[in-house]
């Protein structure tokens, strides 16, 4: 029987504080960065970024909250968020001027009037100085002149860098085991060597890179020591002898780590937290992930237990406190972006389980401790991803399933069997591929070794393939017209109209043409951004540990890492697959309607065509039911997209396809015209790699049989598969074993990732009506979990609509 051990009182207290604190905007970082940029126009490129970060390390307030053991923060008040104007700030200024930030439906933040005043006075500086402004200048000419309004690409007329880089994993082994004192020394040695030899050829690039690494390493050590000094100051005042001793231990740790290799479990936890935070301060919090936390910490824990220098209870408490610190991390997003990632999530994903480089099970004591913390704290953040392989211990399966029942979607289940080969397809050798972790939501990469840029632009660069499909049957024109907007114009290739097409082959050819065209432009636009980012937004703090960068003398953004790739994700797979099947069934095989009638029905948003819509929804075999006939276009759709993306290359390396819409399927649905699958304008697109909502009627086994109809190993950037089980389906002694068998069957068949909610729709409806009774109900939303009562209603409804498997 799986057991949750009780939390300590101070953990309970902090958790309570976390759940009750209303997030606010903290402008400490903003002020320092803005002044630094305003005062230093002579600094550019990597030195600007390095010195900007050092300035933060030296001047950010060091603030330690009561009861904390793991310390560090990017602001001065609890659960606040920092601002990152260097990326993009127009959206923030607009919302600030509109006064909506404290009032918005999703993820509101308070702002102090004084701070607001300062922001209003200075914010417009960023209008011409942000990455967005620079990126806009560099967008390809053709895109700017001919493609606005296509509805397929994430890139638009302006503000093309709304989110930061994010979605990377540093090498925490190097950070904990080598320390930044040694890294700085290495950088200094390299510089001296170049100075001695002469900085000839392209070694000037290396020279400046080492210079930046030296600056940020020194800064990071200094930052840690400032926290150490603060602990000493607090210890002096502390009257409780136990806490006083603890504060002194904390000071000792903070004065040691970062510069030196970690000595014990406490050092290592503090080190990975502070290093992670330093990268958030540099590159923003946006799915910057932790990687394989149990692998960094396991040996320290075992050594301390063997030495008798720590008790399991205290170690678990430290881990709890660490999790609460990560949970505290907030990042303000634009109101629009918030709708695709609701519920105050920063996406600092942690990976656990999996194998070592030889394929042996890598589970250790910390693996279980991580699940214990997630389960007993009932936290949606940090998200947890469990790597499953054939040797995953029964006990770990049991602990993971029990945890996901307590905390929806925590952990997610990731299959080594598919992910390792998928990574090998992008050129990573077996031994390193086995060291993969998950980034952000579900994106696999080799943490610490690979610059995988899973979001392409650094943000979620989604491709709306439902719209690409609409362009395919509408001669390259997006049928959607904004009220009062100009008439839609042709933005994609002229592939003809559905009513001119006389065979499925013609339809498929048109779809493939659009997919190829838009994937080409997606990749081209991302590469335009890569060009800008390599100079204007290098990331020396992560590059300091990332395998390959020091050796190559090159920042990760410029291609210094050992492995390089760029990711992408499509949205609307289920809609396109079903739409193709419906055209085939309705127009060509059963001749229920002509292509003209179906075309007219779609263009009319089904108005006047209700009977046809009902036939499509009620009579046509649909994707998601294990019906091979209905599923036959899934593979076509998935392959057409993946092939077009996987062919792409960037300045650093290859592109990698994915399908993980997060909740952007809801948002993109608002801007996608009616589709042949009976969907009306504005309705959500299909979730993850799933079928159109509510169309799977034969239970989880048939659903899985359908989903397994395309090759997920071509989706190296991750797939996302949500399943919701009714709790009664898993009751009884064998319930967990049966659930496990279902998951394993999915993985055997080539499934990559599964995330489960074990909750009934009745419970969710009740939670919608009585949020006060469900404050701690965590559900998996998409690529992340959230407190159900904290997500917007459209997303709540989408969760309820997802088919409930069982009984």
């Amino acid at each position: 029987m799986y057991e949750l051990k009780p939390m300590t009182d101070r953990v309970k207290k902090i958790r309570e504080k976390y759940r009750n604190a209303r997030p606010k905007v903290d402008i400490n970082r903003y002020r320092l960065v803005t002044e630094f940029y305003m005062n230093n126009p002579q600094l550019t490129g990597i030195l600007k970024r390095a010195k900007n970060l050092r300035n933060l390390f030296e001047n950010m307030p060091v603030h330690i909250n009561e009861d904390e053991v793991i310390v560090g923060w990017q602001g001065a008040s609890y659960r606040c968020c920092a601002l990152y104007p260097e990326t993009s700030f127009n959206w923030f200024m607009k919302e600030l001027r509109d006064g909506t930030i404290p009032k918005r439906e999703q993820d509101p933040y308070d702002i102090d009037p004084e701070d607001e005043k300062y922001l209003l006075e200075t914010g417009d500086f960023w209008d011409k100085n942000s990455m967005s402004a620079i990126t806009d200048e560099y967008m390809p000419r053709y895109h700017r002149d001919n493609m606005i309004g296509n509805g397929v690409l994430f890139f638009g007329a302006k503000d093309n860098c709304q989110s930061p880089v994010g979605h990377f994993v540093a090498n925490f082994w190097t950070a904990t085991q080598k320390g930044f004192g040694a890294i700085q020394k290495e950088a200094e040695d390299k510089m001296r060597q170049l100075e001695e030899d002469g900085i000839y050829g392209d070694s000037i690039y290396k020279y400046n890179f080492y210079r930046a690494v030296s600056i940020v390493s020194e800064g990071l050590i200094h930052w840690s020591e400032r926290y150490g000094a603060e602990c000493e100051r607090l210890a002096e005042k502390e009257t409780n002898p136990e806490r006083k001793a603890e504060l002194l231990r904390m000071a000792d740790s903070l004065n040691w780590i970062m510069k030196n290799p970690c000595r014990n479990f406490h050092d290592a936890v503090q080190c990975i937290y502070l290093y992670q935070l330093s990268m958030c301060m540099d590159g923003q919090q946006h799915g910057i992930s932790y990687g394989r936390v149990d692998q960094y910490l396991g040996h320290y824990y075992e050594q301390d237990i063997a030495n008798g220098t720590i008790t399991p209870e205290y170690a678990q408490e430290i881990l709890d406190l660490f999790y609460l610190k990560v949970a505290e991390c907030n990042k303000i997003w634009s109101e629009g972006a918030t709708k695709s990632g609701p519920g105050y999530t920063s996406g600092q994903l942690m990976t656990l389980g999996g194998t070592d480089k030889d394929g042996n099970d890598a589970t250790n004591a910390v693996t279980y401790m991580m699940l214990q913390s997630a389960g007993r704290l009932v936290l949606h953040d940090p998200p947890q991803a469990l790597r499953i392989h054939d040797g995953t211990p029964d006990e770990l399966w049991e602990a993971a399933i029990e945890t996901t029942k307590l905390c929806g979607g925590v952990p997610t289940f990731e299959s080594d069997k598919v992910i390792v080969p998928a990574l090998m397809k992008r050129g990573i050798p077996l031994e390193d591929a086995r060291n993969y972790c998950l980034n952000g939501c579900v994106e696999p990469s080799v943490g610490g070794y690979e610059w995988a840029q899973p979001g392409g632009t650094g943000t979620e660069s989604y491709l709306n393939i439902a719209n690409a499909f609409l362009l395919a049957i509408n001669n390259g024109t997006n049928p959607m017209r904004f009220p009062g907007g100009p008439a839609p114009k042709q933005t994609g290739p002229a592939t003809g109209y559905l009513y001119e097409m006389t065979s499925m082959d013609q339809v498929l050819e048109a779809v493939r043409t659009q997919f190829d065209f838009f994937c080409k432009w997606q990749i081209s636009c991302i590469n335009a951004w890569e060009y800008v980012a390599a100079f204007h937004n290098p990331l020396p703090m992560v590059s300091a540990t990332l395998e390959g960068c020091m050796e190559n003398g090159k920042d990760c953004q410029a291609g210094g890492a050992k492995y390089n790739s760029t990711g992408n994700s499509c949205i609307g797979l289920g809609n396109v697959a079903d739409s193709l099947n419906i055209i085939d069934y309705v127009c060509f095989r059963e001749k229920i309607a002509t292509t003209r009638e179906l075309y007219d029905a779609i263009m009319a948003n089904w108005e006047g065509y209700e009977e046809l819509r009902q036939i499509i929804n009620g009579r046509v075999p649909r994707y998601g039911n294990g019906d091979p006939e209905a599923d036959k276009y899934v593979d076509f759709t998935a392959s057409a997209y993946a092939n077009a993306i996987n062919r792409g290359t960037g300045p650093r390396g290859r592109f990698s396809a994915g399908c993980y819409p997060v909740t952007a399927n809801v948002i993109f649905g608002w801007f996608t015209w009616a589709t042949p699958d009976g969907r009306k304008f504005g309705e959500a697109l299909a979730d993850g790699i799933s079928n159109v909502q509510g169309m799977d009627k034969n239970g989880p086994v048939s659903f899985i049989n359908s989903v397994l109809n395309f090759d997920q190993s071509e989706y190296g950037n991750g797939t996302l598969c949500n399943m919701k089980f009714h709790p009664t389906a898993l009751k009884g002694a064998g319930g967990n074993a049966k659930l496990r068998a279902v998951m394993q069957s999915y993985f055997d068949g080539g499934g990559m990732e599964l995330q489960l909610n074990v909750v009934s729709s009745d419970t969710l409806r009740d939670a919608q009506a009585h949020p006060e009774n469900y404050k701690d109900l965590v559900v998996r939303v998409a690529g992340f979990s959230a407190y159900f009562v904290e997500v917007f209603k459209g997303c709540q409804d989408d969760l309820i609509r997802r088919t409930e498997m069982g009984l």
Binding site: Q614, N617, G618, R619, N698, V701, N705, A741, Q744, S745
Partner: protein, 319 residues
């Protein structure tokens, strides 16, 4: 000469069946049953012929569908019925009503009811059609130690079809369970037995008179078949639906336990199934006659029955 293709009549196929036998199973529900248990939670399983079924929740209203079903019915068996409030829009929906005394289950209305509020329950499958469908889920059987359950109705009322399906499944190496009332000729049971890995065997009452009064058939063939299965080395999970005011008295439970004891090693487990009322609304899908509803036995009461049976050294679970 035209060769007659063997078909069976099913009313449902359910994947992820986790309550009927070991592991994850797919259950094929065959239509038609000689018993008439009033607590039956699948009333659509009883008749041997296809039936017009009606699910009010799916009806989108005559305004939206332009009363297609009413127009399609040439027998005059449909009329306007109740109204209900649409859950999403809040609008009032005019539904239809099936006049059961006139309806001959021809299915003309179901043809045009696209949302499937009206549909024909009962579909013929050839052996290969069914086996192909069941094999789709093979990977789940393998991972979970599951397989296929043939259920009903009373599947043994379609003996040739069941035999052919079971044979094919065994050829494919699939674990098979037969969920049965046990009310069949021994000659039928004997034939299928070599292809059945596990019987899910219902025992409803030990007194034949009472059995007949309530379920419409006596219990002697049922008990006799159970003995013969046990004697022939068959394995069974005995299932006892616990029905208030019918079979839940201590005397009957003790007699049932004694009988099970007699079956010896054949019994893997005895499952006590507390009555539930989830089938009640299903009756209204196929008739206007509501069915009597009983109260669900308490956990405490179920535990008591379990303890009584355990006194006989039997393995008992509450399902």
């Amino acid at each position: 000469m035209e060769e007659k293709v063997l078909t069976g009549k099913l009313y449902d196929i359910q994947g992820f069946s986790v309550q009927d036998g070991p592991g994850v199973r797919t259950t094929a529900f065959l239509k038609g049953c000689p018993l008439r248990c009033p607590w039956c939670h699948s009333p659509e399983s009883q008749a041997f012929y296809p039936q017009l079924s009606w699910i009010s929740m799916r009806c989108q209203g005559t305004e939206l569908c332009k009363s297609r079903c009413l127009e399609a019915c040439t027998k005059g068996a449909l009329e306007l019925g109740d109204t209900r409030e649409d859950a999403v829009s809040g609008a009032e929906i005019q539904m239809v009503h099936v006049k059961r005394d006139i309806c001959d289950n021809c299915g003309e209305c179901a043809e045009v009811c696209y949302p499937g509020a009206l549909f024909i329950c009962g579909k013929d499958y050839t052996v290969e059609e069914l086996v192909k469908r069941l094999l789709q889920d093979k990977r789940f059987y393998e991972r979970s130690g599951g397989g296929v359950t043939i259920s009903g109705g009373e599947a043994l009322c379609q003996p040739e079809f069941v035999l052919a399906v079971l044979k094919r499944l065994k050829e494919e190496g699939i674990h098979t369970a037969l969920d049965t009332t046990g009310f069949a000729a021994w000659s039928v049971v004997e034939k299928v037995m070599p292809y059945v890995d596990l019987f899910l065997y219902d025992l409803k009452h030990m007194d034949s008179e009472k059995h007949k009064a309530v379920t419409a058939v006596p219990n002697e063939p049922i008990l006799e078949n159970a003995r013969k299965i046990a004697a022939a080395g068959g394995k069974m999970q005995v299932r006892i639906p616990v029905i208030p005011m019918f079979n839940n008295d201590e005397a009957n439970i003790r007699k049932t336990a004694e009988f099970c004891k007699e079956l010896g090693d054949a019994i893997e487990v005895i499952q006590l199934l507390p009555y539930h009322n989830m089938g009640v609304t299903k009756y209204l899908r196929i008739s206007d006659e509501p069915v009597a509803e009983a109260t669900t036995p308490s956990d405490e009461f179920m535990q008591k029955l379990k303890r009584i049976m355990e006194e006989y050294g039997l393995p008992v679970t509450i399902h």
